[in-house]
């Protein structure tokens, strides 16, 4: 059997532990002789077993067992609060914490706000200090998900690659192109850029969905990356447009690369879209041209080959 990744294994442990806790609770109620309250924990234990199996099984969306687990926690705590003679106020914190752990941040926040206002309305504990402690707990529990969101945003802002394929995204691409432009001027070298356009991309998305599009992009990037030098820069300039920056390359060299790429790409056949089709053209900086002007010219060239 394939070894599962660590988060998944931890989740499995959590699901089974919660099921065993529920079974233990049920047995304790049985030993205490409170048969009338036995029914709900029995039902919840079955529910948790179902969610554990759904988590282990394939083909279920991962949010469904999470929601089942969360719902059973809510039901267990609510029934215990109403049926036990002297419930500890402590237990009302459990659903709040579980919500933040099991749901995405925004839905967890709104669910907790709804629950808090509902509790205020019909709570058995009505002192302000108590509700204040709930608000404080909710806000404290919301902090780590915010921190996660910050880190995710930071990674996105500092990751140079495009999210769909193994090429630089537009900001990094322009920056690297600017670097190469400056370098060529400073060190007196040549520079060439190939503009690539994938005419099948939009059609692939419309007809076969996102997966076909990703396959197309992946095929292009792997072909280009495997056939280029280490310091050539491939970046995604538009939805279906790529720029391949070739430092220290003359016009004839760029034309040669173009021929080679064209041949290699046309040999690549994909399941859904068939033969990989690409339009490629070269665009070299002119003498004494500014960088902005050159980028404009590159964009115009991309537009031109897209509308052939």
């Amino acid at each position: 059997m394939r070894v599962q990744p660590l988060p998944k294994r931890l989740m499995t442990a959590a699901y089974s532990a919660s099921m065993f806790i529920m079974v233990g609770y049920m047995m304790w109620l049985y030993a205490m002789g409170s048969y009338r309250e036995l029914l709900i924990p029995l039902f919840l234990a079955m529910l948790l077993l179902v969610s554990l199996l759904m988590h282990l099984g394939q083909g279920f969306r991962p949010c469904i067992p999470r929601i089942l687990l969360l719902a059973s926690i809510y039901i267990a705590v609510l029934t215990a609060t109403y049926t036990q003679p002297s419930p500890a106020p402590l237990w009302l914190g459990l659903p709040i914490a579980a919500t933040f752990l099991l749901l995405p941040l925004w839905s967890a926040l709104s669910l907790n706000i709804v629950c808090l206002s509902a509790w205020w309305w019909l709570a058995p504990f009505e002192t302000t200090a108590f509700s204040l402690s709930h608000v404080a707990l909710t806000l404290l529990l919301a902090l780590p998900p915010w921190e996660h969101a910050r880190r995710r945003a930071l990674l996105r802002a500092t990751d140079p690659n495009d999210s769909d394929c193994d090429a630089y995204h537009i900001d990094t691409l322009k920056e690297r192109l600017n670097n190469e432009f400056q370098r060529a001027a400073m060190l007196n070298k040549r520079l060439a850029v190939l503009v690539l356009h994938l005419p099948q991309l939009d059609m692939a998305e419309e007809q076969f969905g996102h997966r076909a599009q990703t396959a197309l992009l992946g095929a292009l990037c792997s072909e280009v990356n495997s056939r280029c030098r280490d310091h050539d820069i491939l970046g995604r300039a538009g939805n279906a447009t790529f720029w391949l920056v070739l430092p220290d390359t003359s016009e004839s060299g760029a034309l040669l690369v173009r021929e080679r790429l064209q041949r290699a790409l046309s040999r690549r056949v994909l399941v859904e879209t068939g033969q990989l089709e690409a339009r490629i053209t070269t665009c070299l900086p002119l003498r004494k041209e500014s960088f902005e002007r050159y980028v404009q010219r590159l964009e115009a060239r991309a537009e031109a080959i897209a509308n052939v």
């Binding site: 402590l90 200090a129 402690s133 915010w146 670097n179 007196n188 430092p247 220290d248």
Partner: protein, 284 residues
Amino acid sequence: MQSKYKISLLRASLLAAAVALALWTPMAPPAAALLLWLSVGWLFITALVLDFSHRRSPGLPWQMLAGTLLLGLIAAAPERHALLIWAWGAVFMLPQHRWAAIFNACAAMLSCLLLAPVVSLPEWLLMVLSLATLSVLALSRTHQLINMNGDIRQRLRLVPGANLWAGEQLLRDLLREQTRSEREAIHAEVLVIQVKRHQLWPVAQQLCELTYKFENVYRLNGTTLATLILSRTSKEAAKRRELLCAVLPDSAAIYHQPLMEIELASLSIEALSRYPKHRLSEAA
């Protein structure tokens, strides 16, 4: 901008939590009030020093501080702050070092023991088990985040928009630049600069401004920076190096070596960052 928006929401949320804790202080026993105010202060300071870069993320074990404060809050008034036991779930949701996690786990156990007199035994057992399950859930969520980071972290820039990169990137760039400078017949050299810890970020910024855009700056560790200098001839490189050295602080130890002479196969970031020290001891 999307990213700025994220950080201001986090800051607002930290401040809101601080305000909620501050409102909770009246009628608290003195020890509990003191700890509440300490926590308020910590949340407040965290909100103030928050920034949108990778500068602070590794190193400082501030997660242990959060755990200590939480343990203190529960210990100061077990009955009053019993609800906060569930906040351990939040502590375990923070990405942290292994030993910080172990410390926090011990602190969580201790606070459970402190709560034992407040609730009945079966309830206490149930609470400990539920808390353990919650912590496992939280760990699973943290690991998802860490897995996602792992491969991106190696290729990233440290501050959005600045030309400052992680040390791992230097090893890759050295390899590439070595073949490239040979093919283009230019002179390339690597400059390793060691500064005092508190000077690192100002010097890094200075270096970014003084070098060309195509010569990246790298942070090797807490005190060491590196940059690549590309010039047409070695004479021009020497002139540029002198200009750079004149601007850097006097206490900085600087080491340079042409790229061609570096043996890349056995090179590591640690070895590179030790270069300036070696040279100083040779000179002495």
